[in-house]
Symmetry: C2
Subunit: 405 residues, 2 copies
């Protein structure tokens, strides 16, 4: 008998019929001889409707109350799914985040899980129940309802799996798993059977948004293995786990692309301490998320700093930087460019294999695609190219690393 | 400074605009120098939608899960109303039933309040907050969500008012208060400024459904005064309170009518112990609510037993009684009649004034209306008449007791 935590997203429970499908799947998992905790999100559309309601009564909804409001979405789904399971002859009980002992800090709308006391969950499992657990929510030390922010239900599943020492955590979604590249772009992309936490993190931060990074980070920190699977079929998914020797034999695990990027270059900034701090401090203060940052060694007294960000935030970034430019130096100029995209190759095998960057650049050169910026980490090489060329670039690199079927 | 508990029903919070209206009213009450706890129901229509969802996933929804599901309705309203108050410059926090310390027994979908620990409510009030409290819900000893059944939000308000020793409990509804008769029937009906708990109970059980009897009973038991008011205007309402000497000077406080009744008569039952028990045992087992029961003294060895019930339950009652008729005696026959209505006059003054029944019967005789059944309590005289005559009967009796303006 295994102890399994499953998680179903909003689309998987989006209609009464789909709730019954999930109920069936959960019940089958139990009937196969397992104990099951199933985490569910709000039915798709419900959270948006609640947000709309909040805006209809308030121009600036209180965050504490936003959590009370949004938590009803998952509470609705756990009750309905438990009812459906019981209707099918199973035995299920629902638990809200608070009832399941999920304690968070006090930061409303984006709380962090600080502790889980899974006594109620364990007791209910031992009594033969399927436990339907509300994702995305917990309770702070004052007994207030909190929500975990984007990707919160994945986090609930992974954290609960860690707390009850589950044998397996299955994240059900609307794709079969993690692919070597977006199959809409690279038709021959392959599903990856196993991937390490770090690779998954780099893929996520490079545009392969199967899951939010924070859930993967949490899983890595607490050593929780999880599998990304499709809720609409029974295909095996992608297992995300600690790395092992065998994984290193694959140099590049996948290629990921991120569109709608923009680039900002600040030219001729003095090459002295504190300059970067002024620039990125101003951007952080404005709440702008920066992706790649590139600064080359200067041979003169000035240098250039470039960074990329979502094109949607470009205007906000310009606004934030304009007031600080004079502080950087009198000749400082800012250039911006939207319409770029980022291509990354990711693989822990890079650590022990040389020539990855060279092979990537060679493939792009052969395809006559110009590289604008380059940034690397221990297990990733990322470049930016003109957005119009990103698909061609992805296919060329996918082939070059032998990832085609 | 007074401590006031207010309650707003589903219609009063049925749209974002109405929620803002309630928020305004609650805030004004606080700004007039009071501490305020406001109990709200689910937005009108929400509970019905949730029930519909439950039926879409299950043919027989689990009661425990039904409570988890339905409780989201009030949770949504408290969050929205608190947001609206904060948006208007006030300071409000919301509490679910569990958070507010409302403990119930374990009977899901119709739990009874067993205890209230209002520490959180008191602390929040003392911190200058308006407390938005979810009606209709509590928590049982196992920490499960429970709901209180029909009229549950009124009960929440009255019970909390008792627990925190509120100076006043205001039940806001869509009428101005309790009237001497239904104003749609008797145009000259007057709003009653004060009414005793017992009169209110008899009025409620006689068709004047401003509130469920259980809330009034709870108020009487714990001596909680409350006022029934209109949420759409500022008119004074009806104060429901313990009786006093002055109240007895009014012989009849009001006239109430109940339509869509049916009558069942069982003829020629043997006049021996156990007969009634067989009849009403069978009806109770079928979950049928009986209203008036009339049995006359028998001069022979047999008697007739009549009772009234909602016409909607007549077929079910016939079904329930058929199998037991042979147990009553071999000549026993059942006659049923729908299309009847009940007219009651209610007043604690009856205890000290004679001739109330005579005056009522006289008024009906003068109007040539035939009385079918008669039943009395210490403070009520009720009769059934043909449904077609109920409005004429109500007007005649209303006039006869000097209740017209």
């Amino acid at each position: 008998m295994a102890l399994i935590v499953q998680k179903y997203g909003g689309t998987s429970v989006g209609t009464p019929e789909r709730i019954r499908n999930c109920a069936q799947r959960i019940l089958e998992t139990q009937r196969a001889g397992n104990q099951v905790v199933a985490v569910v999100s709000a039915m798709s559309g419900v959270t948006d409707n609640l947000i709309k309601l909040s805006k209809a009564v308030s121009s600036d909804p209180t965050e504490r109350e936003m959590d009370v409001l949004l938590a009803t979405g998952e509470q609705t789904t756990i009750a309905l799914t438990a009812m459906a399971i019981n209707d099918m002859g199973g035995k299920a009980v629902s638990l809200t985040g608070a009832q399941a002992g999920i304690s968070t800090d006090g930061v409303h709308t984006k709380a962090r899980i600080v502790n889980i006391t899974p006594d109620a969950v364990r007791r209910m499992l031992d009594e033969g129940n399927i436990v339907m657990l509300a994702g995305f929510q917990g309770q702070n030390q004052s007994g207030e309802i909190t929500t975990l922010g984007r990707g919160g239900s994945d986090l609930t599943a992974i954290a609960m799996a860690g707390a009850i020492k589950a044998d397996l955590c299955q994240i059900f979604t609307d794709v079969d798993g993690v692919y070597t590249c977006d199959p809409r772009v690279v038709k021959v992309a392959q599903k990856i059977p196993e991937i390490s936490y770090d690779e998954m993190l780099e893929m996520a931060s490079s545009g392969s948004k199967v899951m939010q990074s924070r859930s993967v980070e949490f899983a890595k920190k607490f050593g929780v293995r999880f599998e990304v699977r499709n809720s609409m079929n029974n295909n095996p998914g992608t297992l995300v786990k600690e790395e092992n020797q065998g994984m290193e034999s694959v140099v590049v695990r996948g290629v990921s692309l991120e569109r709608n990027q923009a680039k900002v270059t600040i030219d001729d900034v003095p090459d002295r301490p504190g300059i970067s701090s002024i620039i990125f401090g101003a951007l952080a203060k404005a709440g702008i998320v920066i992706d790649m940052i590139v600064q080359n060694v200067s041979f003169h007294s000035t240098t250039d700093i470039s960074f990329t960000l979502s094109a949607a935030e470009l205007a906000k970034a310009e606004e934030a930087l304009k007031p600080v430019l004079p502080d950087l130096g009198k000749d400082v100029a800012m250039r911006v460019q939207a319409g770029i995209a980022k291509l990354s190759v990711v693989g822990i095998g890079m650590r022990s294999h040389s020539g990855v960057a060279a092979r990537m650049f060679g493939a792009l050169a052969d395809a006559s695609i110009n590289i604008q910026m380059i940034s690397t980490s221990e297990i990733k090489v990322a470049v930016t190219v003109d957005e119009a060329e990103i698909e061609r670039a992805a296919r060329a690199v996918h082939t070059a690393f032998g990832l085609d079927a």
